[in-house]
Point group: C2
């Protein structure tokens, strides 16, 4: 996970060399993406960590916290608090795994699944807002290129 609450710079006054540096562009674009996604999810009283956990449970079924941590990128320590929030609102259940009682099995509840459907729409809206100046083919291409970069550096 990552996130940072920073004011993005005004590109109009940033020197060309910095403004066109890919690593810096990624950072600036991420600031906007983070701000927009966070704002949309906050409308629903949710944060990006909670959303990531719900998505991961829907996609992969019930899982231990260690596996959820791997799949979401949320640190094992921070996951504890995220799950506390989700269990408080009955979006997930957390129970000891009968097969290995070191583990908890975290399960998506029907209420969590319904909630997730609404969150999906909010997140989609956030992406639309973020990518507003791009055409659909451009959006697809951006995702493709970013995925290439991320996947390339994940190995090694």
């Amino acid at each position: 996970m990552t996130e940072r609450h920073t004011d993005p710079a005004d590109p109009a006054v940033v020197p060309e060399r910095l403004r066109t540096l890919p690593s810096r562009l990624l950072g600036q674009a991420m600031i906007h993406g983070g701000r927009i996604s966070r704002a949309r999810l906050e409308e629903a009283g949710m944060d990006r960590w909670g959303y990531a956990v719900l998505v991961t449970l829907r996609d992969g079924g019930p899982a231990s916290q260690a596996r959820l941590s791997e799949r979401t990128g949320i640190h094992r320590s921070d996951l504890v608090g995220v799950l506390n929030g989700l269990t408080d609102r009955a979006y997930v259940e957390r129970e000891p795994d009968p097969a290995d009682r070191r583990r908890n099995v975290v399960t998506l509840t029907p209420a969590g699944r319904r909630r997730l459907g609404e969150l999906d729409r909010l997140v989609d809206r956030a992406q639309d807002e973020l990518l507003d100046p791009l055409t659909q083919p451009e959006r697809d291409e951006l995702v493709r290129l970013l995925a290439l970069i991320v996947e390339h550096h994940a190995r090694g």
Copy 2:
């Protein structure tokens, strides 16, 4: 400015919905870009803030700290320490502005300009490494799309 020292997740185990989410891809790509750029600059005992200041001085000439803060995105408070480091190594000079003694005028020294030439090459290498899986046209397109996003959200 932004930066975050996080371990990127392994995309192989991340659910499709998260893995292809533009806002998340930006974050993951930025983590790699930040890690690589930082590593390259550290070889030269520099950080990204110091580099941003030197570039901005070369591009726009001598400037006050307030203007440097605007152009680099470095917070006015943090700029103090960055300039202390750069003046210690005689890459910049910081003197009271005779025309308005509230201000400091920060100037790039010849030594700073020479140093910056070396740093440019290191930063270029970092970008190459980050964009390694992309062809040159793809790199250009990525920069173009990111710049569109950043510029769009900087207004308003």
